[in-house]
């Protein structure tokens, strides 16, 4: 695997971890009894994400890594819809499609 491909995969994992972290933080506002646990899990996930993103930056241009990180918006929106039952209105769906298309363009760049 090329360094670039590893970098792209690392950012995608980061975006997924970010999505999980955000869902944990949102859960902390919904389950008062387990608030501290959800927040601690969310913050722990942010630390893991920071390490993975650092490894990604060692392999990618920052302009590519940062933009690919927008996949977290996609994972957050989809995760919130599936796990939390949040709505997925048409504007958000079009936005998700634009982000995925843009990331595909960036990841395919030479």
């Amino acid at each position: 695997m090329s360094a670039r491909l590893i970098g792209v995969l690392l950012v995608l994992v980061c975006a997924g971890v970010e999505g999980l972290a955000q869902i944990c933080l949102k859960q902390s506002t919904r389950q008062a009894g387990r608030r501290a646990g959800w927040i601690a899990t969310g913050v722990g996930l942010f630390v893991v994400e920071a390490l993975l993103y650092t490894a990604a930056l060692q392999r990618l241009e920052v302009s590519v890594a940062y933009s690919l990180g927008a996949m977290s918006f996609v994972f957050v929106a989809l995760g919130a819809a599936w796990l939390l039952g949040e709505a997925l209105p048409m504007t958000r769906r079009i936005g998700i499609a634009c982000i995925v298309a843009g990331c595909a363009v960036l990841a395919s760049g030479g």
């Binding site: 390490l51 993103y53 650092t54 490894a55 930056l57 060692q58 241009e61 920052v62 302009s63 590519v64 890594a65 940062y66 933009s67 927008a70 918006f73 996609v74 929106a77 949040e86 709505a87 209105p89 504007t91 958000r92 079009i94 936005g95 998700i96 499609a97 634009c98 982000i99 995925v100 298309a101 843009g102 990331c103 595909a104 363009v105 960036l106 760049g109 030479g110």
Partner: protein, 136 residues
Amino acid sequence: MSEQTPSSSPVGRRVAAVLAIAIALDTLGQLLWKLAASRLPATLSPEALLQSIERDPLPLLVIGVFVLQLVNWLVVLERVDLSYAQPLTALSYVTVCLLSAWLFGERLDLHKGLGVLLVLAGVALVSASPARRKSP
């Protein structure tokens, strides 16, 4: 809901200023993080990380920028709706792209420009959609 803003402009000057600071700090954080990452050892073991931070405090500066960014973001959210502020911060995709080309000599061509603009539009659309659905 957002606070009342001067009728002469859609957003108050202070709101515009804190939003500009938010974009600037986003951009600064990314550029410094890239610089810090490129100076770190290839294997990111905890010991290696701590040793290199002793020699080169740049990672601490990155953390400092993100703390400032969080504080400034809370000021933004005090003054305007999240659904107004969040799409605007997507502008930092453009500033990171331009400044990384200028400072680090990163490639900047039509291909990358198209990708970044699609991401920018997508983030703006995702975060501009209604914040909360009506309760069932």
